[in-house]
């Protein structure tokens, strides 16, 4: 079997962080891929909620858009989008929020709005979507992002979704519980320090060097004392993931 790519390691590592039975609010893209991989491997009873209104969706292929028909057909129930945000997210029912972003900073704040200034942006990004409230209201947030100096930055250009603000108790002092519990990249896993809330590397993927991590991070990155190597994807995980991607590609080809 072909060895795991760094993207595959990232996806599998993220998937493993989902416990069985967890209620998970899923964004499209890699979060959706990781969440569905978890569902197809160790967490068959994970409950996937998409902002399009599907609760308990069990898609056989990955949705390209957040509201593909198969999500509705395989869901336990479908509700309106307003109800998803009020009765299901804001009410505190979501245990894990799975998010991506264009930038994440040292204190796990997320930017998906602009690069540069808001009023005359260098790059206008898509914007908030459901992220600010997922980041605020899920009991815990997992962030998946490609490891790149321009993406893991000292301070995001714009705080779309709050992580730990500028660190310490600032988040809880502002009345928010929860918060990001891990940032999974294609090189490492970062977790917030329990006191300062600064993201530190706790796991490093096989074959990745500390130098490489330092060079790819936009702040002076620290490594945890108990730094360990990320457990490699199992054959079952890789086969399942590759199968899922293959089925998805086939389904999309058929539609085109």
């Amino acid at each position: 079997m072909k060895e795991a790519s760094s993207q595959e390691i990232m996806t599998v590592t993220a998937a493993r962080l989902l416990r069985d039975g967890t209620v998970c609010f899923v964004g499209i893209g890699i979060p959706s891929m990781a969440a569905n991989l978890a569902r197809l491997t160790h967490a068959p009873n994970v409950v996937l909620i998409y902002e399009s209104g599907t609760i308990g969706a069990k898609p056989s292929v990955l949705p390209l858009s957040i509201g593909d028909g198969e999500l509705a057909e395989t869901a336990d129930t479908v509700v309106s989008t307003p109800e998803i945000f009020t009765h299901w997210l804001q009410s505190g029912r979501v245990e894990v929020g799975f998010l991506g972003a264009a930038q994440v900073d040292k204190f796990a704040n997320l930017n998906s709005t602009v690069i540069g200034s808001y009023d005359s942006p260098k790059v206008r990004l898509p914007g908030a979507g459901g992220a600010p409230e997922i980041a605020a209201l899920a009991k815990e947030t997992l962030i998946i992002i490609e490891h790149d100096k321009r993406k893991l930055v000292d301070r995001v250009d714009f705080v779309t979704s709050a992580g730990y603000f500028r660190g310490g108790n600032e988040r809880s002092d502002a009345g928010l519980s929860g918060g990001p519990s891990a940032v999974i990249t294609d090189l490492v896993v970062l977790e917030p320090d329990s006191v300062s809330k600064e993201l530190v590397v706790t796991k490093i993927h096989a074959g990745v060097t500390k130098e490489q991590v330092r060079d790819s991070t936009g702040w002076e990155i620290r490594f945890a004392n108990n730094l360990s190597q990320t457990e490699s994807p199992s054959e079952e995980e890789l086969v399942t993931l590759r199968d899922l991607i293959r089925r998805t590609k086939e389904a999309r080809r058929k539609l085109s």
Binding site: A72, S80, T113, Y118, P126, G127, A128, G129, P132
Partner: protein, 281 residues
Amino acid sequence: MAPKITDLKSAIQSFIEPGMQVAIEGFTHLIPFAAAQEIIRQGMTGLTLIRLTPDVIYDQMIGMGCANKLIFSWGGNPGVGSLHRLRDAVENGWPNSLELDERSHAAMCVAYTAGASGLPFGALRGFVGSDLPGHNPSIRFLDCPFTKDKLAVTSAIQPDVAIIHAQQADRQGNVMLWGIVGVQKDIALAAKRVVVTVEEVVDEFAVKSNVTVLPSWTVDAICEVPGGASPSYAHDYYQRDNAAYTEWNEISRSREKFLEWMEYHVLETKSFGEFRERIVS
């Protein structure tokens, strides 16, 4: 009282005027492309466009100069990447500058629900620590009169016209849509006027699960436009044309190619039917 079952061209002519606030909704499903292209065809300008996800539908309208303001929460090409025309308007003011009233999905939803409910604002737990409220006066904070919790509030949205696409209308003018129902009921009930394009007009509705029904007296015009949500999808009618979304990324990347495409496919055609013929060929 009952809505007029009419053709799309007349409905747009009757209900859409320059400068209006228009919401063309459908959350990932049932996106009213045919209606939006008819607005482009009629050369409308100065609209405030409202929609959670501008999507390709507003990318086309913004690029063609229909809008000078956008109220939204996520402006990407789902599963593909950027909306180049939206970006060009915001980053470079082409073809004109675009004022933004930018919220989150949750805030847009409560703004629609407040609008549909006759309330001037909606409350939510949100935006604490976010930079968005600093750039948008439509988002404020208040203290709960009972618990003193700090809550975000956002102003209600009540557009002049809402346009949605549904699977079916019956001959009395009742409208039914199903599958992912999104935000359509709220925006339809929030708007002063409602135009609905449908896949078909039927004698009687069959029982479906997860249904939204708009009684005839809440709807102003119904237009039968088969395929009118394409390249998005209509549950039980046709699937999402993912290739079209991917191709849009290339078409919209340059101003020239975009204008050429719109000219040939939209401006030179007289209807969505003709547009579809050119797309297929």
